[in-house]
Symmetry: none
DNA sequence: TCGGGGTTTCGGCGCCGGCCGAACCGTCGG
DNA sequence: CCGACGGTTCGGCCGGCGCCGAAACCCCGA
């Protein structure tokens, strides 16, 4: 008897069209903000908040607060599998390409942009991946710069003269972490933030590696930037994207 | 958008505790009557009727009218699989042995009885299985007597003298089929009905193979019946049940 | 042909739950 | 420090749906 109660409770989470829309959108495996989901589902933010509470409480979603944003994603592969099965075993639907396409982002923004004071977009994620691959960065469990990473960053920002204790690798007393992960809203993967991210971004802009496109947050890699990034982190398609 | 609508509609079918109870009960793969399900779920017959309508319309259940009864079962293996997955992926439940036990039937009735004019219960199902196993009966897709089956039945009812065109194997013009399946309400499996089932039942009673228990529909196999059935269809525990 | 039991339909009641607007809070950006 | 913005909470509205009793329907069994 209590088993049917549990089943009905769980099914009820998907029995609302708005919540179903949310879950199907999240099937892409990425994280969405509450506001995005509200827009996507066509309801007021207040309504989406309530739905997200239920879905999180029901174990379907997990949330990740980040500043004033609330990112939410499917809690795991089994749940995703279950929802896909449910969506699949229904009378065959034409499946009109779901995903993030509805939340149309400027192509330039998706390519590369600033996120507060660091880099995001495919560019930011690619840089983060390359740093991880080169052993400059550790993702486990939180973002931390390795010793080589700190050296690398210090050398980057002080190309001439000896290393000084004023570089970003120095024991600053700021509460802000040297490195931290920041969830990317187009890539939905974490990219480098924190002091290191900000330093890198500032340096890239002041060195002419990147230029802002118009007045927005989008940035473009210059030829000089392509060369510099390839030299520092190896070749990557993100450096050479049109 | 319409996909989420379909998903939510489907999930809504299981989102009610009464309907969830019904679906879990039907997970045993057998057919239940509307009244049984109403009792099992603890609701009025009128309420169960409404739920069954929705479940049938939603493709979860298929129904099978039989006289004044409405038998209902899961529509297929995929749906059963899906429901099991749903029930399984929820926080682990102790699973307190579900099934038909609540619908207590008289032990004698469950053993053997008449169903209208033919045999039912474990006895009826066992006879049907034995006939199928001996190639006298084909279950695909509807019940039909094979040529050996027709010969067998004719010989059974006319033990002396030559085969006559008046036997059950003769081309009768009745609209009633020679053989058909009838859903058994204790075994939840089909047993032989139609002219063949009626002929067999009548013969078994008139030959003293079976005797009625009291005034009810329950029947008991006599020693003579045990010998005859073993001779005709081979040994089977159903012939010798106490 | 009649009685009885399983099932269905019909109204009506009551509650649960989704939805929003408005006010509030915390974070970010200048 | 202040304005902007994303998110949350709080009421209140409203539609949908589950539930039942009563009456009708249908078919079996006698």
């Amino acid at each position: 008897m209590t088993e049917s109660r549990a089943l009905s409770r769980f099914a009820a989470l998907l029995a609302d069209e708005t919540r179903a829309t949310i879950c199907l959108a999240l099937l892409d495996g990425r994280a969405w903000t509450a506001g995005e989901l509200a827009t996507h589902a066509g309801v007021a933010p207040a309504t989406a908040t309530g739905h997200l509470h239920k879905l999180v409480a029901g174990g379907i979603l997990t949330e990740q607060r980040q500043g004033r944003h609330r990112y939410v994603r499917l809690s795991g592969a089994p749940i995703a599998q279950l929802i896909e099965d449910l969506a699949g075993h229904i009378p065959a639907t034409p499946t009109p390409a779901r995903g993030l396409r509805a939340v149309t982002a400027s192509a330039a923004l998706a390519r590369g942009r600033t996120c507060y004071d660091h880099l995001a977009g495919r560019l930011g994620v690619a840089i983060t991946d390359a740093m991880d691959h080169k052993g400059l960065l550790s993702r486990d469990p939180g973002f931390t710069l390795t010793d080589p990473g700190r050296t690398w960053l210090t050398a980057l920002t002080t190309p001439t003269g000896p290393t000084t204790p004023t570089g970003p690798g120095a024991p600053t007393r700021s509460r802000r972490p040297l490195a931290r992960g920041c969830l990317d809203w187009t890539e939905r993967r974490e990219h480098l933030a924190g002091i290191a991210g900000a330093t890198l971004c500032t340096h890239a802009l002041t060195s002419g590696w990147l230029t802002r496109i118009g007045s927005g947050r989008a940035v473009r890699v210059t030829p000089a930037g392509t060369a510099a990034l390839t030299d520092l982190l190896g070749p990557h398609s993100a450096w050479t994207e049109p």
